[in-house]
């Protein structure tokens, strides 16, 4: 018993050691970037980290905890992005007596309507806050809807079939957004009213803490959720769905719940992304950026561990950014033969996926089996029993 305990503690020590080490590497890279390029690059990285950690945490709930091969993460992100692009702006325009119907997203109208809404949002912080909350609510609702729709076939299909179907749904949604001008402007991206307009040039330094708070709230929620009996059901389903069924678990219901919750969170991430960029370019919402990168983040960080996911997102985002900003300095030999070093981003993505699968199957921070209650509470309960 004691040997087991000390082994456990040793493992735990090693684990926190790893987290510490990765955090140090991240901090060192951040410091390096700060001293070589200044604050703006740090802000960009931080915004991307918050948005993508929200999306990746939702992926982790569905794929890491529930074992659903979610290759269509982009579908929920797109739902959130389109909802934010299409609905709250129209509502604001309707209240202000501006064109708010089908013509709102037309390229000749949109660029005149949105600045007027922006002017109103910049005048009053209460309206801006209300607008932000409205955006998040609509994004979440759209995500829940699309998650529910996707979960219908998810009951029938198995592993690979399901992953491929979800991938196809995500691609199809992207083409719908690209062609249907009524929704978000089609090939001419519709602008999104900016709730952070009243901060002027300090916009990004306000976005970072706001998004960070949202991400932390989602992190806490997901941690509570996965430690609850519901989270245990998910893990049981992932590890052996037959035995879960035999134990009386309603597989269909649990899978549907997991997909709906995950899609809601991912859609909030998509909505935040659109608010940050200020326009909805449907063709930019690709499965490469919003499905495959989150998968790489999750696999590097550790499937089934939200802290790991955060570290994975942070590390890879920094590496991606470094390829972009140092491309002429470090990869001059490629540019000499006319090759754009930006493609190395794909190489990095592919290499990370392969290396993690082959050599680091559990990721940087492996999943921890946590007791439902803290240790002292368990001891108390045991003591009261005796």
């Amino acid at each position: 018993m004691t040997a087991n305990g000390s082994l456990n503690e040793k493992l735990k020590g090693l684990l926190s050691h790893r987290v510490l080490l990765v955090s140090l590497v991240i901090l060192a890279l951040l410091a390096f970037l700060y001293f070589s390029r200044g604050t703006s690059i740090i802000l960009t990285i931080l915004i991307q980290v918050t948005i993508f950690s929200i999306i990746t945490m939702s992926l982790n709930l569905e794929s890491g905890y529930s074992g659903i091969p979610q290759f269509g993460r982009v579908a929920a992100v797109i739902a959130g992005a389109f909802a934010v692009g299409a609905i709250p702006g129209r509502i604001m325009a309707g209240f202000m007596g501006l064109p708010s119907g089908a013509e709102y997203t037309a390229d000749t109208v949109n660029f005149r309507v949105v600045p007027e809404i922006n002017a109103l949002l910049a005048s009053n912080w209460l309206i801006a806050l209300g607008f932000l909350i409205m955006c998040l609510v609509f994004a979440g609702a759209a995500g829940a809807l699309i998650g529910w729709l996707i979960s219908r076939p998810a009951i029938r299909l198995k592993e690979g079939y399901l992953g491929i179907s979800m991938l196809a749904i995500g691609d199809f949604l992207m083409w719908v957004g690209h062609n249907w001008t009524l929704l978000v402007g089609g090939s001419v991206p519709a602008n999104v009213p900016d709730p952070f307009r009243l901060f002027g040039t300090a916009r990004f330094s306000v976005i970072v803490p706001v998004f960070f708070v949202i991400a932390v709230l989602i992190f806490i929620y997901l941690n509570k959720l996965t430690q609850s009996p519901f989270g245990r059901n998910l893990r049981m389903l992932r590890d052996n769905d037959l035995s879960a069924n035999a134990a009386g678990l309603n597989i269909v219901k649990v899978r549907t719940q997991s997909l709906v919750i995950g899609a809601t969170i991912a859609a909030i991430g998509g909505g935040l992304y659109v608010i940050y960029t200020g326009s909805v370019a449907a063709i930019g919402l690709t499965r490469l950026t919003f499905t495959f990168w989150p998968w790489a983040y999750m696999m590097l960080g550790g499937i089934g561990s939200n802290v790991g996911v955060f570290l994975g997102v942070f590390l890879l985002t920094i590496l991606r950014t470094m390829i972009i900003i140092f491309r002429s300095q470090w990869f001059g030999f490629l540019m000499a033969v006319g090759i754009d070093p930006l493609w190395l981003e794909y190489t990095l993505l592919g290499a990370v996926i392969i290396i993690v699968i082959l050599f680091l199957p559990h990721g940087l921070v492996p999943e921890k089996i946590e007791p439902m209650l803290p240790k002292n509470r368990v001891k108390k309960v045991l003591a009261s029993r005796v």
Binding site: P69, I164, A168, W295, V337, G350, L358
Partner: protein, 313 residues
């Protein structure tokens, strides 16, 4: 021949080969091969490079396409698939590993396109391969040649699987790997050969498809949902089912777009991807095991039995 049918036939025979490649690999190794996307694009770029740098017709570079496709398959097998199969990795892990390989290949293709632009002053990012084609009876030659090549290579594959000793061993491994191993069949070699065949098929399919659609570095990436749709429509049970599924998906896409845009207007063109996906969903609702799962013999027998009964009454 109407233009949509000509392009549709070319495109569908390409899609049939890629869908067949996915199906073959799935039934042998349980791997959903994402890398088919980049293998297909590689096939297109091999023909493009040959035609622009060395001249001639696209068809004479197909042997090179097959070889390079097979090499990409072999690299993936030894570098990635074999260790994972030995480890008995989950289906999702196998799928993700080919995705990683696909992304590396994609980055290489993009770099190669940059290299061609810079060194040879070509325009490899938007290519209409049919410009390099010649005409037979007022039609593009590809309309006749490509389906013929597709059918020919399928016949070869069929003969290989049914008449040669190794092909029979391969089918035995597909049916029951444990039993095949017990009777002395080297499953390792079977996996290797299936990667070679499916790599060649995928690359050839890609170079076929580029004769019907615009060739771009992301050509494979945009069409991979359709390749998978073809494979799933076929039921992932037999190679022939996958090939048939790819054919159906390719033809319905072109026919559907042609008909719908005639009656509804040109806006349909943007949603062309929805048509084959809808066909797939509809078929799977009726036949959950895909085209190869349709009990054709039973249906025919029932039909004759029914008509006989009808005649008797």
């Amino acid at each position: 021949m109407t233009p949509w049918l000509a392009s549709g036939l070319i495109y569908a025979s390409g899609l049939a080969l890629t869908a067949g490649s996915i199906t073959l690999l799935y039934i042998v190794t349980r791997t959903f091969n994402f890398a088919v996307a980049s293998m297909a694009t590689i096939g297109f770029y091999v023909t493009y490079t040959g035609v622009t740098l060395y001249g001639g017709l696209p068809y004479q570079y197909y042997p090179a396409v097959l070889i390079i496709g097979a090499i990409t398959g072999v690299i993936c097998y030894f570098g990635l698939n074999r260790p994972l199969l030995n480890r008995k990795a989950a289906e999702t892990t196998l799928m993700m590993s080919t995705l990683g390989y696909d992304l590396i290949l994609l980055s290489m293709i993009q770099m190669y396109a940059d290299f061609l632009t810079y060194t040879y002053k070509l325009f490899p990012r938007r290519v209409t391969m049919s410009l390099f084609d010649f005409e037979i009876y007022g039609e593009r030659a590809a309309t006749f040649i490509l389906p013929a090549i597709a059918i020919g290579s399928l016949l070869l594959l069929h003969l290989f699987l049914t008449k040669t000793k190794f092909g029979i061993a391969m089918r035995a491994t597909i049916e029951n790997p444990v039993l095949a191993g017990a009777s002395g069949i080297n499953s390792d070699r079977v996996y290797l050969v299936s990667w070679i065949i499916s790599g060649g098929m995928a690359a050839l399919g890609g170079s076929f498809m580029s004769m019907a659609i615009t060739g771009t570095p992301v050509m494979g990436m945009y069409t991979i949902p359709l390749m998978f749709a073809g494979a799933i429509l076929g039921g992932l049970g037999s190679i022939y089912g996958g090939i048939l599924g790819g054919l159906v998906i390719g033809l319905t896409e072109f026919a559907g777009v042609f008909l719908l845009s005639k009656y509804l207007g040109p806006w349909v063109l943007g949603y062309r991807m929805g048509i084959p996906l809808f066909i797939m969903a509809a078929t799977l609702l009726v036949f959950p095991r895909g085209l190869s799962g349709i009990p054709l013999a039973k249906i025919i027998r029932n039909y004759y039995a029914g008509s006989r009964r009808g005649a008797g009454a």
